[in-house]
Symmetry: C2
Subunit: 243 residues, 2 copies
Amino acid sequence: MNNEFKNQEADARGDGYLPGLAIDAVIFGFHDNQLKVLLLAYKNTGLFALPGGFIRDYEDVNEAARRVLLDRTGLTNIFLDQFYVFGDRSRHDAAPLKAIMAARGVMPPENHWLLKRFVSVGYYALVDFTKAIPTPDSISDSCDWYALDDLPVLMQDHQLIIQKALETLRINLDQKLIGFNLLTEDFTMGELQNLYETILNKKLIRAAFQRKMLSLGILERIAKKFTGGAHKAPYVYRFILEK
Amino acid sequence: MNNEFKNQEADARGDGYLPGLAIDAVIFGFHDNQLKVLLLAYKNTGLFALPGGFIRDYEDVNEAARRVLLDRTGLTNIFLDQFYVFGDRSRHDAAPLKAIMAARGVMPPENHWLLKRFVSVGYYALVDFTKAIPTPDSISDSCDWYALDDLPVLMQDHQLIIQKALETLRINLDQKLIGFNLLTEDFTMGELQNLYETILNKKLIRAAFQRKMLSLGILERIAKKFTGGAHKAPYVYRFILEK
């Protein structure tokens, strides 16, 4: 058996990776009242997808998630949180994987590991999309931000994965706010309310929002913002970093 | 090759199961100001563990979690929620699996699938432990409730899994309250506060607790509890089932 054939067999078996387990990352981008999500377009396939990949046998799963995001998008230092395991049998769909491999000139055997059923661990993050500039990897034509209300058709169950990530983000927004590092160091209550309104996709009542945010005990009031007209200047706040 | 040997090979490969993926269930039990957790003791091993198992290749992962819980504990109709994927490489420890198989007279080959690295999907639930009566399966000596502050030494990273489940329960208690079905249909604010205090393991201020619970919009006030002395009777509440 020559080496090339041995390597093909090892590739087909998925040697070096955990079998049947994938990672998909939902990176939400916020800026200036807009919420977007990061998607890849696979070369010569017309397939759009979340940045995702597989776990090497020497990696922790959380570590693999950060490495996969870096490999696929060039993004680093992003605080990724697990949010759900997508494990329905019905998500198994080998066709897009075959198309992606075919576009690279690979004709996989039917028992190739990538064509089998995968369970995917979903991770999510929320970043400022003007500060997170993605770079497509060698098998993607593009890696770009898309408005949530104007997504292309996505492969497999990636639309569902985004929906579940968005629900999780909305439920956990209070708790995750500090870690996500989305606002400038000092911000006004109005800026914070804009962030909430955009992510929750609804208008909030100003007084109730302010009362709720102050009751969370995560904000400290710094000073009035200097605008020239002191009596109209809003207070600026900052997150209390130690709990 | 005779059939028995074929079956042994298929067993060793883990045919019929998803490779490398397990389920562990943290079932918290609450009653009368006590919080407990459900543990199995494996026969003739001295090993204590969370109820757990593996995913059949025709099962959804969430479906497998319910079936595993039923197989291992006899409990059914329990609302299981995913809470975390335990995927660190360091959790790989084949020794307890070898001991469990040895206690059943099985000497597995070194490449047996159960001795390889597993990633485990953690599920949790909160039930009334007086209503959930567990039954040990054929490979366990017992399946019982243990007080959280008096746990036996647990195999692998099961102590850590319980800790993470407890953190999740504490963070999500408000949101999960209705589904968990822990109180009688009608309950007093004091009974609800006891539940919170036990799970959070701290005393809460009565007025602040009441204000917070009422602000969640999940309670409806039914009537005063009949105690004979009407002016001292507490109100009784019930969860609003439609949101």
